[in-house]
């Protein structure tokens, strides 16, 4: 159960986390890109980039196409933003704000992340244009492939906690973080997470080889909202990863929320950096690797985690 006052607090926290997270991610991405390119970064310009870009997109016209599916087109970024915001409800940023009464946090998270597929598909479908549609169908193949590994590694993390609640999983890492206890977990989670946010090597639906794919008919405020919502998903994925694999709010000296923020930013940095260093994977290759390598490895992760738990239990 959750009170209205609590709900307001949660709303404010989520809005703050998402806006700050998106802002930071955009700046980190820009900075990392210039670093990889060995090009000079002008710090002030990089820091103000999100504001200026937002202003430009607000003043740019929104594209329409011949007979688009207008309601669904409007709905796509709204759905993606709703997914990102709602998923943050179960991610505890400190021991006090932990998990608003949703006991099966990772089930809830997995269910929301499955809906990303719908949002991306809607965005591709509704413009009635070839490149976005191909992008949309591409993403379905991609999503069906990363879905399993994502859910499996989260289950692996739930085994030592004996609970599906994210707070319980954080508490269960008091002695040892899951990233060490289950070494396969975090890498697989991050790969799947790149898929959820269709980012970097797994940015298949909006790739350059489709002239932007699902983004190719977007402009102005529509593009702004779509990209913001997508980065918000990335932030949510990183926050969940920090809670489940990096011990969440636990850490010495600093307050829990600070630890959680640092760990989330570290994961964002890894994912964004991978985007600049690893080329976009071919779709077929990803599907094949996901089913023949990632899923078996994720299953191995679950059973290895189970074996460790059993061996360590007092019986």
């Amino acid at each position: 159960m959750i009170s209205y006052g609590r709900l307001l607090g949660e709303l404010a926290t989520i809005a703050l986390v998402l806006l700050a997270g998106v802002y930071a991610t955009v700046v980190i991405d820009l900075w990392a890109g210039r670093m990889v390119a060995r090009a000079p970064v002008r710090a002030f310009r990089a820091l103000t980039f999100p504001i200026r870009q937002t202003a430009l997109f607000l003043l740019q016209q929104r594209a329409t196409t011949e007979r688009p599916d207008a309601p669904l087109w409007a709905l796509a970024p709204a759905l993606l933003a709703a997914i990102a915001a709602a998923s943050l409800l179960v991610i505890p940023f400190s021991s006090q704000t932990s998990a608003a009464g949703i006991e099966s946090g990772i089930v809830y998270f997995g269910a929301l992340m499955a809906l990303v597929m719908i949002a991306v598909y809607l965005n591709g479908w509704s413009a009635n244009s070839v490149f976005p549609i191909i992008g949309g169908y591409r993403f379905i193949a991609e999503a069906l492939s990363y879905e399993m590994p994502l859910a499996l590694v989260l289950i692996g993390a739930a085994l030592p906690a004996q609970s599906l609640s994210v707070s319980a999983i954080v508490i269960s890492q008091d002695s040892l973080w899951n990233v060490i206890r289950q070494p396969l977990g975090l890498p697989i989670y991050l790969i799947a997470g790149l898929g959820v946010a269709f980012w970097g090597p797994l940015a298949l639906p909006d790739a350059a080889d489709l002239a932007g794919g699902t983004e190719s008919e977007l402009s102005g405020v529509q593009l702004l909202l779509w990209r913001t919502a997508r980065i918000a998903v990335l932030v949510a994925v990183a926050a969940m990863g920090a809670a489940v694999f990096l011990g969440g709010w636990t850490g010495p000296w600093l307050p829990g929320a600070v630890w959680m923020t640092l760990k989330t930013i570290a994961l964002i940095f890894i994912m964004v950096g991978a985007g600049h260093l690893v080329a976009r994977v071919r779709l077929e290759r990803f599907v094949l690797v996901a089913w023949t390598v990632l899923i078996p490895l994720a299953l191995l992760d679950v059973f290895a985690a189970g074996a460790v738990v059993l061996a360590g239990s007092p019986r």
């Binding site: 209205y4 709204a78 709703a82 009464g101 244009s129 529509q222």
Partner: protein, 118 residues
């Protein structure tokens, strides 16, 4: 008081509503354009010959079916994770048997080339 699910629904609606509101605001600042050539979908300069909406050939349908089987498995695994420690070795062995059978399914699909399509 709200149920947790109600709370999450409210948060989702607020986020979605804000997005739609901003979209309308952008539409007010700069109204979407209207002439016919400006609406032509982008294909690199040439106009389309047909509508893009079509009965798209989803060539990975076999993989999608495989996914359904595994998605059901997930439904069993969530409660299994909670009772795992209580049930001990029995839970471990039972799930292992189940997974081995499913993994054989992947191997079969792989051999039948269900995971590639071009």
């Amino acid at each position: 008081m709200l149920t947790a699910l109600g709370g999450s629904l409210i948060i989702a609606f607020v986020a979605g509503g804000l997005t739609l509101g901003l979209r309308s605001l952008g539409g007010l600042l700069t109204p979407p354009r209207t002439t016919a050539p400006e609406r032509v979908p982008f294909l690199g300069g040439l106009g389309p010959e047909t509508h893009a909406w079509s009965r798209f050939h989803v060539r990975y349908y076999a993989m999608a079916l495989l996914f359904l089987a595994f998605d059901m498995e997930m439904v069993f695994m969530y409660p299994w994770a909670v009772v795992f420690l209580r049930e001990g070795m029995k839970a471990m062995v039972e799930m292992l048997m189940f997974i081995v059978i499913l993994t054989l399914g992947i191997l079969y699909a792989w051999r039948e080339r269900a995971l590639r399509w071009s």
